[in-house]
Symmetry: C2
Subunit: 176 residues, 2 copies
């Protein structure tokens, strides 16, 4: 039986909603992105309301975080005071801005707190059993090294974006 195009869109939207949730974002966010991504032209807030069934309020805030992550762009038409939104279609561009965004996040604050733990130990200002301190020192150091490696990898991905999509394969072959 033939699938109606509206059903197809709905399936797709459902899929992106799940993916969104998987990464810890609201499912509404995935739905909003999906609707924009499948639209050939930018959509106004009210059109998004119509197509997602969410309220203006929710969309207003979620579209803002999408914009902050570089996954959608806000624009406006001359002589029209509505805002229009469209999906970023170059995902590498998005990844880059997501990774940059991450710099200022809770995540990095936490990572930095590990670094501080390390500094405290190394400054010799920790009192307690010496062997235990040494043990902890070594473990925390290893974790710190790992974070640094991840950070380097993130930077590698950022560079990757400049080179285009096919080059992931190159990394693979370089590593084999």
């Amino acid at each position: 039986m033939p699938t109606k195009i509206t059903d197809l869109k709905q399936d797709f939207t459902g899929g992106l909603s799940q993916i969104s949730r998987f990464w810890g974002f609201p499912k509404g966010m995935g739905a909003i992105f999906a609707v924009l991504y499948l639209s050939p032209s930018p959509l106004s807030l009210d059109e998004i309301v119509e197509q997602t069934g969410l309220t203006k309020g929710a969309i207003s805030t979620e579209v803002r975080t999408l914009a902050r992550m570089g996954l959608v762009h806000r624009s406006s038409k001359l002589g029209d005071r509505k805002d229009y939104y469209e999906a970023e279609t170059d995902f590498y561009t998005s990844i880059r801005s997501i990774l940059k965004e991450r710099q200022n996040s809770e995540f990095d604050r936490a990572v930095r707190s590990v670094a501080e733990t390390l500094e405290k130990i190394e400054s010799g200002s920790v009192s307690g059993d010496e062997a235990e301190i040494q043990f902890i020192h070594q473990r925390v150091q290893a974790l710190q090294d790992f974070f640094n490696a991840i950070d380097s990898l993130a930077k590698a991905v950022i560079k990757l974006e400049r080179l285009g999509i096919g080059n992931v394969k190159n990394i693979l072959s370089i590593l084999k």
Copy 2:
């Protein structure tokens, strides 16, 4: 003023809890891992209870998902019917098993649903405006390509683990 070793541990545990939450896991999971990671010897369930303040029930379930992700290992001592848990200290090993684990996850189910959308379009079984179908086809295809690229990257990281930590830097320089 000198920092007591117990305070240091607590700070560290707090940091990992936040990181855990950031990635969408319960903060308790981060705490459990932290406690195990800073312990020179495997801990029993009750010892984890003691050090985290969580209940046996919570730890029982969370330690299981940690084990599934390869972040902790369960072991037992002869003539002792307690289970003991210790942290995996090679993070590359963990990453590898997390990425493998992901294969069976909700995430991949959702990704597969995108692939199915694509198949429906390509089989010509979608009815509706032809230009719109073409447009959607092209967009969904692009997303699919992106997912494939991510998948390749994941595989690259899996290989990386074999090569040791310093090699992330190599990728970076290869790409520059």
